[in-house]
């Protein structure tokens, strides 16, 4: 889960970069950047969840 979370974080950033390089229209860019952000939030949630579960097991 940690690995998937980290990969999702990086993927989200790459989506944001892709929006800069490939798109020109403001609305399209905004949508892609929002999608990138969503992916990052998902990745952060997975990473956080993995560490919380780990601490819970160790407790």
């Amino acid at each position: 889960m940690k690995l998937i979370g980290s990969l999702l974080l990086i993927s989200g950033w790459l989506i944001v970069l892709a929006a800069l390089v490939m798109l020109q229209a403001l609305a399209q860019r905004a949508a892609f950047i929002a999608a990138g952000f969503g992916t990052e939030i998902l990745g952060l949630a997975l990473l956080t969840n993995a560490y919380t579960a780990l601490q819970r097991r160790q407790k």
């Binding site: 974080l9 950033w13 800069l20 390089v21 403001l26 919380t52 601490q55 819970r56």
Partner: protein, 430 residues
């Protein structure tokens, strides 16, 4: 951002140098806060770790990091992607990188700012992070991690060139929220994850409060930090932003208002929630206000500065509780909430509350979001990967005895307060 041209720097040399010389007070204040919020049995270790971190960060940044951080309009490694030049990394010569006034001032300021960023994670690792891995992690941070954001934001890197290359507004961070505070806060998050909670923090499934040992020191540290943050923001704005000396009074006013609003928001929140104001959370609110206000320091109006900082104060008190109780992240100094979360909020607020001539408001907000996405999506995995790698070869966490005895006895052989501190639980059979 439009960097200050060299011709603008020379007449303001005395002002910039004065600000740079006061910048270490930010480190001093944060060190007092971190030390006061930890246990007395690790107090000397916390201060020694701070000194070692500042020393290693200064040396490593001068020898390695500065060449990649660069300075505004200096030599850089550029990649041509989609017909746009992406300025990724500085390319300063290794021999005598500070030949003229601008690179020299940029180096001297960043010798201090890299230290401020590097001591932030110490707060999350209080009472259990060993000195040797602290030193190694600091060296890697100063050499490879800090220079990336420093170059991208302050030294004409790709984030500051979003306007020229991608028709967005340039990413704005005049006071170091994206360069100093958020990287330090993300490092704190990674360290807290790797170290796990202090022994005794969660007993029988319930989070136990481990109060800081010297709250007076913590609150005094807040006052010291205020001067350091004002100096840091002023120097960075004059050197890397387009600030003029006549804008510095507005910056000082905003910083004072930010600290005040952040602190008062935390006082009110804790008063309402716990029926009494909490001193340590109020101190966190003070610093959170300063951090959130640093991104837009001289460009936001005073009412906006108050609003941004008040939200940061609220956010900090709420997040400290969420991290501790729900996510089981033991962060004794609140570095994750104060530096990472408030810094990210400050960067977004800079887009919401400031305007840039020639750029639409939407463009400005998108540019800030690109910067935030870079911090969370690129820098956090990088920092965490590096920390996991170092932890594999040089374990971060002290052993079980060190946890109970305290880091002072374990690593230094003597305590910070040998004459009057007795820890009853050291003599309890385990």
């Amino acid at each position: 951002m439009n960097p200050a041209p060299s011709g603008q720097v020379a007449p303001n040399l005395a002002l910039i140098l004065s600000c740079i010389l006061l910048t270490p007070l930010a480190s001093a204040g944060l060190a007092l806060i971190h030390q006061g919020l930890g246990r007395s049995r690790s107090a000397a270790h916390a201060m020694l770790a701070t000194l070692c971190t500042l020393a290693i960060a200064a040396i490593v940044f001068t020898l390695l990091g500065n060449h990649w951080a660069g300075y505004p309009n200096g030599p850089a490694h550029t990649l041509q992607i989609a017909n746009a030049p992406w300025n990724w990394l500085g390319a300063l010569p290794y021999s005598n990188p500070a030949q003229t006034v601008l690179p020299a001032l940029a180096l001297v300021l960043q010798v201090f700012t890299v230290g401020v960023a590097a001591i932030i994670p110490l707060s999350a690792g209080t009472d259990r992070w060993r000195l040797a891995p602290i030193c190694l992690a600091t060296a890697v941070f100063a050499a490879c991690i800090y220079p990336l954001m420093a170059h991208w934001v302050w030294a004409s890197g790709w984030l500051s060139q979003l306007s020229a290359n991608f028709h967005l507004a340039p990413f704005q961070d005049f006071g170091g929220a994206a360069v100093i505070q958020v990287p330090g806060g993300l490092m704190a998050l990674s360290v807290a994850w790797i170290l796990g909670p202090r022994r005794g923090k969660y007993s029988d499934g319930i989070a136990t409060a481990i109060p800081g040992h010297n709250i007076v020191q913590v609150l005094f540290g807040c006052l010291i930090s205020l001067i350091g943050f004002i100096a840091l923001e002023s120097a960075a704005s004059l050197l890397f932003g387009s600030a003029l000396p006549e804008q510095i009074p507005a910056l000082i006013l905003n910083a004072v208002l930010s600290a005040s609003a952040g602190c008062l928001a935390a006082v009110l929140t804790t008063q309402i929630r716990y029926r009494k104001p909490d001193a340590s959370l109020s101190a966190n609110g003070w610093i959170a206000g300063l951090v959130a206000g640093s991104a837009g320091c001289q460009w936001v109006s005073p009412p906006a500065a108050i609003l941004i900082a008040a939200i940061a104060g609220l956010l900090t008190t709420w997040l400290v509780e969420i991290l501790e109780l729900r996510l089981l992240v033991d962060d004794p100094g609140g570095a994750i909430s104060v530096h990472a979360a408030s810094g990210l909020w400050g960067l977004l607020a800079c887009g919401l509350f400031t305007t840039q001539p020639g750029n639409s408001h939407t463009n400005h907000i998108l540019a800030q979001l690109v910067g935030i996405a870079t911090l969370v999506g690129f820098l956090l995995p990088l920092i965490h990967g590096v920390n996991l790698l170092i932890n594999r070869f040089l374990p971060y966490r002290t052993d079980r005895d060190g946890d109970w005895q305290g880091m002072d006895i374990r690593e230094l052989g003597s305590g910070a307060y040998p004459e009057f501190v007795i820890h009853a639980d050291e003599f309890v059979p385990r």
